[in-house]
């Protein structure tokens, strides 16, 4: 979808200087959706997954007549994982490229910074990956929606899974930034609610993000006497963590291990058989968890196009484009405030079942998927998930009062 746009820039510049406006859209023009993802640097793999999901959705939609009879065109910008860059990029997408709507955001920090600027842009944003609770909580606004699972939802589900185990002494290993700390706080609070007699250890472990060597923290946990560990390390760090934990005999200890982002396909395919069996893994969407036509079609199309099963954030991004299709057609226009309004309370069919954007905080009522790692998948070269659990979306969501969102 990227292509040289020198001409576009020149046109925009001429328009800007002569008319004073840029990006005016005409009825026959394609509908333009701006995508804001991490496309460079070490986390670019997440942006690329999102692009894959989106490109699939756009191709399908355009092949079947587009939205409101208009074709859909994606314009991507690199957020570089920095709030400052992302905010400027969003302004560029809206004011210079004429984007009608936005999807995106991988990093929670970027989301925290960008979401408060959405009302100025007057365009809807559907977040497809970033998990910080605040953007559909105290920072919420009528233009910001999230189709993916947030930390609070995932940790409420995690607490339910944890409560079923015999573990009583819980600690955590998580990256030393908001995500790791928030995961532990939500998990602890929910677990205490369900099972008041558990002990949340004061000795927690927060290695710095990108630490590479996790053995000091692995040893600390092994010597701590914990019998339950919440592990929110993710991505390349998780790959390092598991390989080092393997050599330390971490998985031979009798502990309940819960990996909050452990069933991410990029991690599973990098690890292969090195991912141990019998640990609790979660992901915001597991491609074999849903039996419906949309999921079957999505997974098949994804594997046909890219050769491996879809990751959770490819699904979120894919579904977000369909959400815009439905909202724009319901609103009968691409006008920003109208589309945003149509999204509020809207229900849609997505690969992970019926998804509803809750009125009140704009968070999609979706469930994380928790399971236990099983034998290797014969074709996909990754661990399978057994004992899959899908929770009721409403049940794992915070109440609107708890979110702190006042819409």
């Amino acid at each position: 979808m990227k292509k040289p746009s020198i001409k576009k820039l020149l046109v925009a510049m001429t328009a800007a200087t002569t008319l004073g406006t840029a990006g005016t859209s005409y009825a026959e023009d394609p509908i333009r959706i701006g995508g804001l993802y991490i496309l460079s640097g070490s986390a670019a793999t997440y942006g690329e997954f999102a692009q894959k999901g989106i490109d699939l959705a756009v191709k399908e939609i355009n092949a079947s007549g587009g939205i409101l009879g208009r074709q859909v065109e994606m314009i991507y910008e690199d957020s570089q994982g920095k709030a400052s860059v992302a905010i400027q990029a969003a302004r560029k997408l809206v004011y210079s490229e004429g984007a009608d709507a936005l999807v995106g955001l991988d990093s929670s920090g970027v989301a925290q910074g960008m979401v408060p600027t959405m009302p100025e842009l007057q365009k809807p944003l559907i977040i497809t990956h970033a998990a910080t609770p605040d953007v559909t909580g105290k920072l919420c606004n009528p233009f910001t929606y999230r189709i993916s699972v947030n930390v609070a939802q995932n940790m409420k589900a995690a607490a339910k899974v944890a409560a079923e185990t015999d573990a009583t002494n819980w600690t955590t290993i998580g990256p030393d930034y908001a995500f790791g700390h928030q995961s532990w706080e939500f998990f602890g609070n929910y677990l205490k609610d369900i099972k008041p007699d558990v002990n949340l250890m004061s000795e927690t472990n927060f290695p710095r993000f990108g630490a590479e060597d996790f053995t000091p923290f692995i040893d600390r946990v092994m010597n701590s006497g914990a019998d339950g560990v919440l592990i929110s390390v993710w991505g390349g760090d998780l790959v390092n963590f598991i390989r080092q934990a393997n050599t330390r005999g971490f998985f031979e200890k009798d502990m309940e291990l819960m990996f909050t982002v452990g069933a991410a396909t990029e991690v599973l395919s990098a690890l292969g058989e090195e991912m141990p069996e019998g640990v609790h893994l979660s992901t915001r969407y597991w491609y074999e968890a849903y039996n419906n036509d949309i999921n079957d079609r999505f997974v098949k199309a994804y594997i046909d196009a890219y050769g491996n099963p879809p990751s959770y954030n490819a699904e979120g991004a894919y579904a977000a484009i369909y959400a815009y299709k439905q909202a724009m057609e319901a609103a009968g226009t691409t006008d920003g405030p109208a589309v945003a309004k149509a999204l509020s309370g809207m229900s849609m069919e997505a690969p992970n079942g019926t998804v509803t954007f809750r009125k009140g905080d704009n968070q999609a009522m979706v469930s994380p998927n928790w399971g236990v790692s099983g034998p290797m998948h014969p074709e996909h070269g990754i661990r399978t998930l057994t004992n899959l659990q899908i929770f009721d979306g409403e049940e794992v969501a915070r109440t609107i009062e708890e979110t702190g969102c006042k819409l």
Binding site: A211, P216, R248
Partner: protein
């Protein structure tokens, strides 16, 4: 006391890997007076070449350990002849900036060539298990890293103290004009030293590949660590690189276990303290301050 034994071994394996990488940085600075910002990128390139040779071509690990660093060294010769030769006579700031540019170029090229996904290299069969040592389970590969670090240390000591090439390098470091007067081809020395530094970075990359997941950010993660090592030990000092690496290894190995709240701050605090009280590093050569 098993905790302390494990922490010590862990510190050693972190430290010696850092030594392999940082000593190249330090030799380049000592002889050429260049701070090579791209050193981490060359390390990453070594790891990715190893990934290609092992996982895609199907070579054994040992062949990759031999070939990948040579490939990186050849690239370093090109970098030296095409770019760096312009700035040898200028001050250190220029070399920092130019090598920073080279870092950007290599980083993005690697992402374009190999993609940004997470890649994993398996250790050779011989080194894939783990053994009981000092009361804890240690991976054989960690021990291998310690051994190869010590071997390189011995080799470098021999090179600098017992061979003609090493003495020429030291002479060129002390006084380039004098070396030239003695009919030493300093241009060859310069290129050779830069390539040698890159070779060491790449050896570090190949050695790291089976124990660190590969992604295009791995070079940036290591370069600041390497700076800390050479600053603590002493810029330009070859034994200093060892000392600095061990100190940083200890900071990580023990800091992670006993002071986890400040594990982001500690390395920089150590670096600042050394610069404040002993700007030339604990074992630094007499540079101007």
């Amino acid at each position: 006391m098993s905790g302390i034994g494990a922490a010590l071994l862990n510190s050693l394996d972190i430290g010696l890997l850092l030594f392999i990488i940082a000593v190249g940085l330090n030799i380049v600075f000592g002889v050429l007076n260049i701070i090579n910002f791209a050193h981490g990128a060359l390390y990453m390139l070594g790891a990715y070449l190893a990934f290609t040779l092992i996982n895609l071509v199907g070579m054994p690990f040992w062949a990759a350990l031999l070939l990948a660093p040579i490939g990186v060294a050849i690239l370093a010769v090109i970098i030296d002849r095409v770019l760096l030769r312009f700035i040898y006579s200028r001050d250190v700031a220029d070399s920092l900036l130019l090598t920073f540019a080279i870092l950007l170029i290599i980083n993005e090229s690697i992402r374009t060539i190999w993609g940004s996904g997470i890649q994993v290299v398996q250790p050779p069969q011989l080194l894939s298990g783990s053994v009981q040592l000092l009361g804890s389970s240690v991976s054989t590969y960690s021990l291998f890293v310690i051994v190869i670090g010590l071997l390189l240390l011995a080799g470098l000591w021999y090179l600098f103290n017992r061979t003609r090439v090493g003495r020429i390098m030291r002479a060129a470091a002390l006084d380039r004009d004098m070396a030239e007067a003695l009919c030493i081809n300093t241009r060859m020395v310069v290129t050779g030293v830069f390539a040698f530094g890159a070779w060491l970075a790449a050896v570090g990359g190949v050695v790291a590949a089976p124990m660190r997941a590969l992604d295009p950010g791995m070079g940036d993660k290591i370069i600041i660590e390497s700076f800390i090592v050479v600053v603590i030990g002493g810029l330009g000092s070859f034994p200093g690189a060892l000392l600095g690496a061990i100190v940083l290894g200890l900071i990580h190995g023990f800091g992670g276990r006993y002071l986890p709240e400040v594990n982001l701050l500690l390395p920089f605090l150590g670096m600042a303290l050394v610069l404040l009280f002993k700007p030339n590093g604990i074992l630094g050569k007499g540079a101007t301050a």
